[in-house]
Amino acid sequence: MPLIGLTALIMGIVLTMQTRPVLVDFGAQAVLPGMISLSIIREIGPVITALLAAGKISSGFGAEIASMRITEQIDAMEVSGTNPIKYIVVSRVLATTFMLPVLVIFADFIGIYGSYIAINFTGNISLQLFTDQAINVLSFDDIIPAVIKTFVFGFFIGIIGCYKGYYANKGTESVGTAANTAVVVASISIFIIDLFAVQIMEMM
C-alpha cells in the first residue's frame, strides 16, 4: 500500500509537470485535470500498479512456494491428505485477482490528487474545480473496462507466481530462479494483456 501510494503520487506529479508546459503553449491548460484523470484511470494506474504487484507479489509467491517445494513442505501437505493446489495456489490467486482492482482504485485516486498538488506548484486551482474537471470527462466506458482489465492482471500475477514456485526444481538456486522468472513473465504478460484489452475496448 505505501509503495503503491508513493509511486502513484509521484506518477501523478511527474505526468502533470511534463504535460502542463505543452498544454500552456496551446492555451489548453484547462483540460489538464481531465487529461490526467483519463490517462491514469484508463492506462497508467492499472499498468503501473500491476507492474509493481508483479515485482512484489508475483516474485514473493514464486520464492515462497519454491522454498516450500525444496523443503518438501508441499509433499508433506500432499501426504497429509491436503490438496496443495487448493490450499496454496487457489487462495493466493483469488487474493490477487480480487485485491489488485482495489489497489488500482487506490493508486488512481492518489495519482489524480498528485496531479492536483503538481498544478498548485506553479498555478492555482481549487480542489473543487480540479475534482469537477477531473471527473466530468470520465464515463463508465472509461472506468469499467479499466477495472475489468485489472482483475485479469491480478489473476495472471497470482497464477504466474504460484506456477513458477510450484514447479520449481530441487535446490536452493531454484528459489531465486522462480522469483526472477515470475517477475519477468508476469510483467510481460501485463503488457500483452493490456495490448489485447485496448484492442477489445476499441472494438466495443
Partner: protein
C-alpha cells in the same frame, strides 16, 4: 498376517537413468522394515512411489489393500490420512507455529473431532516426543533434532497405520540420533504401526528394524535380519556394516 503394503515389478527411471529396476516388497502388519542403500540410490524414490508422490513407470503398489495407481486423487488423499511420512528435513510449515503444524493434518477430520479432543491429541503427541514446552514455538526456533521430533508428532497425530521414515537420523549428532531411533521403536509399540525406515545409519537400522533390505542397482540386492545381514560376506553388503 495382514499385508499393509504389497509391491510387485516396480520400475522407475528419470530420463535414461533407471533408478528402480524391479522391486517386489511386502510389508506385513507390525513389521518395521529398514531399507538400506547408498545416497542417491533410489530409497526415497521408492517410498515416494508408495505414497503416490512419484508415479512409477511400471508395476503395482497396493497400500492398505488399495491399488495406488488406479485411485482417484480424492480417494488417494483419503487413504493418505491413514499414512504418516516423516521427511528428511522435517518439512515443517515455516509460517505456522508448532501447534498449527500439528493441527494441519487434522483439517479433514475437524468435523469429526471436537476442539477439546484435538487439543488433547496435540498435547499427547507432544508429550510422546518429549517437547510439550515447544507448543507455541515457530519452526525457525527449533534445533534439527527438535524439528524431527515435531515432524514425528505431526505424523502421529493422525494415528497412522503405516509410517515412512525418510533418513530419520541424517544430520543429527549420535546422541540425538539414538534418541530418535528409540522414539521410533516406542512409537511403533505404542501406536501399533508398521513402518518403513529409509536410512544408511546402521545404528538406527539395528535399533528400529525387524528386518532389512539393501537397495542396490535398482533391486533389493540382499535382505534379512540385522544379524543375518551383518554376517553376510558379500562386499556390497558387508561394506555397510564395517
Amino acid at each position: 498376517m495382514e499385508k499393509m503394503i504389497e509391491i510387485s515389478g516396480l520400475k522407475k527411471s528419470f530420463g535414461s537413468l533407471e533408478v528402480l529396476s524391479d522391486i517386489d516388497l511386502i510389508l506385513e502388519k507390525g513389521d518395521n522394515l529398514a531399507i538400506l542403500g547408498r545416497s542417491g540410490i533410489g530409497k526415497s524414490v521408492l517410498t515416494k512411489c508408495i505414497v503416490g508422490l512419484i508415479e512409477p513407470d511400471e508395476g503395482t503398489i497396493f497400500v492398505l489393500g488399495q491399488e495406488i495407481g488406479k485411485m482417484e486423487y480424492d480417494d488417494l488423499n483419503e487413504l493418505r490420512t491413514r499414512i504418516g511420512y516423516l521427511f528428511q528435513g522435517g518439512a515443517l510449515y515455516d509460517s505456522m507455529s508448532v501447534k498449527e503444524n500439528l493441527i494441519f493434518p487434522m483439517r479433514k477430520k475437524k468435523k469429526l473431532i471436537s476442539k477439546g479432543e484435538l487439543q488433547d491429541r496435540v498435547e499427547e503427541v507432544l508429550e510422546n516426543v518429549g517437547l510439550s514446552e515447544a507448543i507455541d514455538k515457530m519452526p525457525s526456533e527449533l534445533s534439527g533434532g527438535m524439528r524431527k521430533r515435531i515432524a514425528l508428532a505431526r505424523t502421529l497425530i493422525k494415528r497412522p497405520e503405516i509410517i515412512f521414515y525418510d533418513e530419520p537420523t541424517t544430520g543429527l549428532d549420535p546422541v540425538t540420533s539414538g534418541e530418535i531411533s528409540d522414539l521410533i521403536v516406542s512409537v511403533s509399540e505404542k501406536y501399533d504401526t508398521s513402518s518403513i525406515i529409509v536410512t544408511h545409519d546402521m545404528k538406527c537400522a539395528r535399533i528400529t528394524a525387524s528386518y532389512l533390505k539393501l537397495l542396490e542397482d535398482g533391486i533389493f540386492y540382499a535382505e534379512g535380519t540385522y544379524d543375518e545381514m551383518a554376517s553376510n560376506e558379500d562386499l556390497k553388503v558387508s561394506s555397510f556394516f564395517h
